[in-house]
Subunit: 360 residues, 2 copies
């Protein structure tokens, strides 16, 4: 949609025309972005190819690069990032602070680590591949939960004390111009990995904010990425900032940029991959973003309860993704609240969160 | 595009898939909106039908209404507005201040008015039908220009002294809720009817601004319109505000609402016709909009000279409509400049205006 403002000729690949992108984009190819031939067939006549999720067939991206097509982010970066083990090794290699981790090939490896005391309860296990939105991640609190340990190649990490989870969106173009958005604060729900609320700017001091943005920029530069990079970080009680993980694409923690900034993450991505100058992000309004998740216990055609109230208020921006079916905790949309004062945005978002429910 | 944020199921009718809307909308029907059967065929399965230009076949709109489809703006309003004679008569009937006018059926009528002294040079003649963007309008400065007088049914008006041309966009839903945007000032070029620059808010006092918004609201209410109404007005040296003409649809003088307001004219239209609450327009940033017109002397595939500079500056928003061919003075796009201070926006817009050229 952002590209269409400029009359750019865009095409999209996804599994079904009924998926959200199929409803707003004219040049659409049905296919599986995990499939080598589909990605190659789709990309071979393009000038530039980019991604909105990292689980794309990397082999096909390499092949497209070989054919002289500009693939941004570059195939090797997608390959590194989509495997959590490779991603972690990259941080280690480049002196980027991250939580200590150990790589495991199977369940037996994990048990061995426990027995030898190299890892202790509670700990986190993350599958190297196919982790996304809290999937492929498990917290093992005690021996009673050992049955939940994954068999797949993984990384395991001891619990780290965290004061706050932060995110910085970075844009970077082929000239090496690099622009960061102000730090966002990700407030997670008690149960675990679901984002409760995204708050921008993060309620941290200026110095820490600058430090987080510089660290995010460093990751982008060391990756040599062209495109967008969302850098998720932990702020620890002893004031260290650790990189948790990155995503080389438009990110949930940047949705608020659509309304709160003069330049959205999507426009910044288009600028980055087409070689246009990136825009600074100095002008913005405080914003809070909440996800609209499918309510537990409901499965089927979505009904958005409480949407009416959300549509009455100035500076409240609902986005409904148009998915045909709601499932428990499925991301069905999001709402951004923009206010002159951050505390007002937080209050309003909390009110809306209690009010809107995606049922069926 | 605004409707797609909410997952609304939209469909569009225009002459060619190559037209701008065909490039961004999936449900597209090729057809002529001036044709009775095309409009009927297109509209018969819709819940709600709206327009983006008033030259739609009105008879078909009436028929759709008869079939129980919600046509907004209503067929009778489109019929009144698209004929300048009927539109003027409407103002007279409802005590809405407007420039004095006389209706004529043909050239001979105009000559008779001149001879009897009921009209005198210089005067303006506007064709009743098919006037749009300065087309169908002629200024007859002296007897030497009599050969330019139109044969078609028209209205003629003596020149009125004008200090400023103003525009107010009104949204109104079926419940009668009515919302106006702050007044915009339309700065025209010396030669005549081409908009040089749109400035919002208009550089007039608060009292006059309120008066203009109230007058615009009155027109919308008397029309009983559901949808959007752009009300173009003259501010005279003796401080009267006269309605010049109205358009029952998203309007060039509201393009800046996309970036400068929390709610764009397009979203407001969707709200109005779907029966949602309209949003207030209190939060906005000063903005200036310039049209990108095809340069004189160029005809063919457009090349946007100077676009690079426009893409470098934060708060400068180019919109390229994606038209396949540029012609002299054809609207090929627009640029909105948003700034904290209006004077800064004006300065920047003037700079851009001298810099960007649509050539071929």
């Amino acid at each position: 949609q952002d590209a269409s403002k400029w009359g750019l000729n865009m095409a999209f690949l996804d599994k079904s025309k009924d998926f959200p992108v199929g409803q707003v984009c004219v040049n659409f190819m049905e296919g599986d972005f995990r499939d080598y031939r589909d990605v190659l067939e789709f990309g071979k006549d393009m000038d530039i190819v980019t991604i909105e999720i990292e689980n794309v067939n990397t082999r096909a991206l390499y092949e497209l690069e070989k054919q002289g097509i500009s693939v941004y982010p570059q195939a090797s970066i997608v390959e590194t990032i989509k495997n959590k083990g490779l991603q972690k090794d990259f941080y280690t290699r480049h002196d980027i602070p991250t939580c200590p981790y150990i790589k495991t090939n199977n369940k037996a490896d994990v048990y061995a680590l426990i027995e030898t005391g190299k890892i202790s309860y509670p700990f986190i296990q993350k599958k190297c591949e196919e982790g996304y939105d809290g999937r492929g991640v498990v917290a093992i609190m005690s021996q009673d939960e050992d049955h939940q340990i994954f068999e797949e190649p993984s990384i395991v990490e001891n619990f780290v004390n965290i004061d706050m989870e932060l995110s910085v969106i970075v844009g970077r173009n082929a000239d090496g111009q690099c622009v960061t958005y102000p730090v966002s604060e990700m407030v997670f729900n008690k149960q675990g990995h679901l984002l409760d609320m995204l708050v921008c700017p993060a309620r941290i001091g200026e110095k820490k904010a600058l430090q987080a943005r510089q660290l995010a920029e460093k990751v982008a530069e060391r990756l040599d990425i062209v495109g967008l990079l969302a850098v998720e970080m932990f702020l620890t009680p002893d004031d260290r900032i650790l990189v948790n993980e990155v995503a080389p694409r438009p990110h949930n923690s940047g949705h608020h940029t659509i309304e709160a900034f003069w330049v959205s993450q999507y426009e910044q991505l288009i600028r980055a991959i087409t070689g246009l100058p990136l825009l600074q992000t100095d002008h913005f309004q405080p914003a809070v973003m909440i996800n609209l998740l499918g309510e537990r216990g409901f499965h089927g055609t979505p009904h958005y309860e409480g949407l009416d109230m959300i549509l009455e208020v100035e500076g409240v921006f609902p986005h409904i993704y148009g998915k045909a079916v709601t499932k428990p905790l499925r991301k069905m949309g999001h709402v951004t609240v923009v206010r002159d004062k951050l505390s007002d945005a937080i209050d309003m978002a909390q009110k809306l969160k209690n009010h809107i429910k995606v049922k069926s």
